[in-house]
């Protein structure tokens, strides 16, 4: 029985990147559908994610799975025969899930502030984001990937943000490399993977998108 897999996404979303990478890593064939979140959400999106009306939405044989972290776990569990994302040890799994949750609670909001705020608020955001990234860097330690020797769940959860780092730095006028060189090296290492290279947008394009957002929201 062939699976029908559709992904509703919006190209700049670091959340959608997670799901794209996960599907690619498992070798799953899927149909990619770009949503125009700024102007017009599709009827399919509104039908498949009525609660949040957000992307990414993974539709597997007509049934929707929403929320990117939940999607990575689902993909790992359904296509369990190759490239496991999560460790098999329950304690290691709990740690991976904890850090993915940490990323979602802290990094997104803080990252947004680096380009959408000014003055003191922006300065505070750039300081905070460096602290968050340093925390994640110490979690990485000397391992090639968060998953250890193999690219895994937590790598997938974080790598999308790597495509936004240049924009955060440009708009926030700060530099990540001096205090987070190991993390940046990890980012470059992940970019060597086909699944990541194919799923992350060019950082110039992300910068252009932010300029577009700033215009729409009237942020200088």
């Amino acid at each position: 029985m062939t699976d029908e897999v559709i992904l509703l996404n919006f190209w700049p979303s670091m959340f959608g990147m997670r799901t794209m990478i996960a599907l690619q890593e498992k070798g799953v064939k899927y149909e990619y559908r770009e949503e125009d979140l700024i102007n017009n959400k599709s009827p399919l999106l509104l039908e498949m994610n009525p609660i949040h009306k957000k992307i990414p939405v993974l539709i597997h044989n007509g049934k929707p799975v929403c929320e990117s972290i939940i999607q990575i776990q689902y993909i790992d569990e359904i296509w369990s025969n190759k490239n496991p994302f999560l460790p098999s040890d329950p304690y290691q799994r709990a740690q991976a899930l904890f850090w993915a949750d940490f990323i979602d609670k802290k990094l997104y909001v803080c990252g947004r502030k680096t380009w959408s705020t000014k003055g003191e608020e922006q300065e505070a955001a750039t300081k905070e984001i460096l602290e968050i990234l340093k925390t994640l860097q110490s979690e990485l330690g000397d391992k090639p990937y968060f998953g250890g020797d193999e690219f895994g769940f937590l790598d997938i959860a974080l790598i999308g943000y790597y495509s936004w780092f240049p924009a955060y730095q440009k708009f926030g006028n700060f530099s990540i490399e001096p205090e987070c060189s190991k993390l940046m090296a990890w980012g470059k290492r992940c970019m060597q993977r086909e699944s990541v290279a194919k799923s992350l947008p060019d950082s110039e394009k992300v910068g252009g998108f932010i300029l577009q957002l700033k215009k729409i929201y009237g942020i200088e």
Partner: protein, 227 residues
């Protein structure tokens, strides 16, 4: 590896702490409950959860697991051969359970919490309407997930029952102090009946705080000036 001492850092009044306690009860895992004093954080807590400094924290052979829903999954996987399964077995049902648990924390609980904070009639009305809408969504989610069985998880309470049920004590307190019915049998009949069944479950009863005790505690903590 199920060997090793189990400790839980928490507080009797916290709904989030109740989640792993129920899971440990379902698995018949004995544990030492380390109560935090309200208003201060122990050295052990700060050391075990430096990122968030929050309860609950499970310590299994001194190794910390944080975030209530993550702890519940950890308990289910570690003591998988003991007691019923806390998470559903099919990946799609698991995804649904996780989705609704996230909704409960991000939307439903936020609605519940905004209710006592509402000032005046307009705000109270708005808060009530928001909670009613969230309840209606969960009523439908219950019908979809339970598939005619008594709990979200089927025949036995599970991950999603625990994720929502832990708030029932605080819901009752909010009803008492606010004077409004928040879980209405007329509007959400399935959810209301489920709530009663949940509270009577033997894994839940020992850790669900008494409404009166919780109401008294609420008075004390909400009397404090906000930081």
């Amino acid at each position: 590896m199920t060997t090793g001492e189990v400790k839980l850092i928490g507080a009797w009044a916290s709904p989030f702490v109740m989640r792993p306690r129920i899971a440990l009860n379902l698995k018949s895992v004995p544990y030492e409950f380390l109560q935090e004093t309200f208003g201060s954080k122990s050295e052990l807590l700060l050391k075990s959860n430096p990122a968030h400094k929050k309860i609950p924290v499970l310590l299994h052979a001194d190794k910390p697991v944080c975030e209530s829903n993550i702890i519940v999954e950890y308990i289910d996987e570690t003591w998988s051969s003991s007691g019923p399964s806390v998470l559903p077995s099919h990946p799609y049902d698991r995804a649904m359970a996780r989705f609704w648990a996230a909704y409960i924390d991000e939307k439903w609980f936020v609605s519940l919490r905004s209710f006592p904070k509402a000032q005046g009639e307009e705000e109270t009305k708005a808060a009530l309407a928001q909670l009613e809408e969230a309840n209606a969504i969960l009523e439908k989610a219950f019908i979809d997930c339970s598939k005619g069985k008594p709990f979200f998880n089927g025949d036995n309470i599970g991950y999603l029952d625990i994720a929502l049920g832990c708030f029932l004590g605080w819901l009752r307190v909010t009803e008492l102090t606010g004077g409004h019915k928040l879980l209405d049998e007329a509007k959400t009949p399935s959810l209301s009946k489920w709530a009663e069944r949940f509270c009577n479950d033997p894994a839940v009863k020992p850790v669900m705080p008494e409404t009166a005790k919780l109401a008294e505690f609420a008075k004390k903590i909400f009397a404090k000036p906000h930081a």
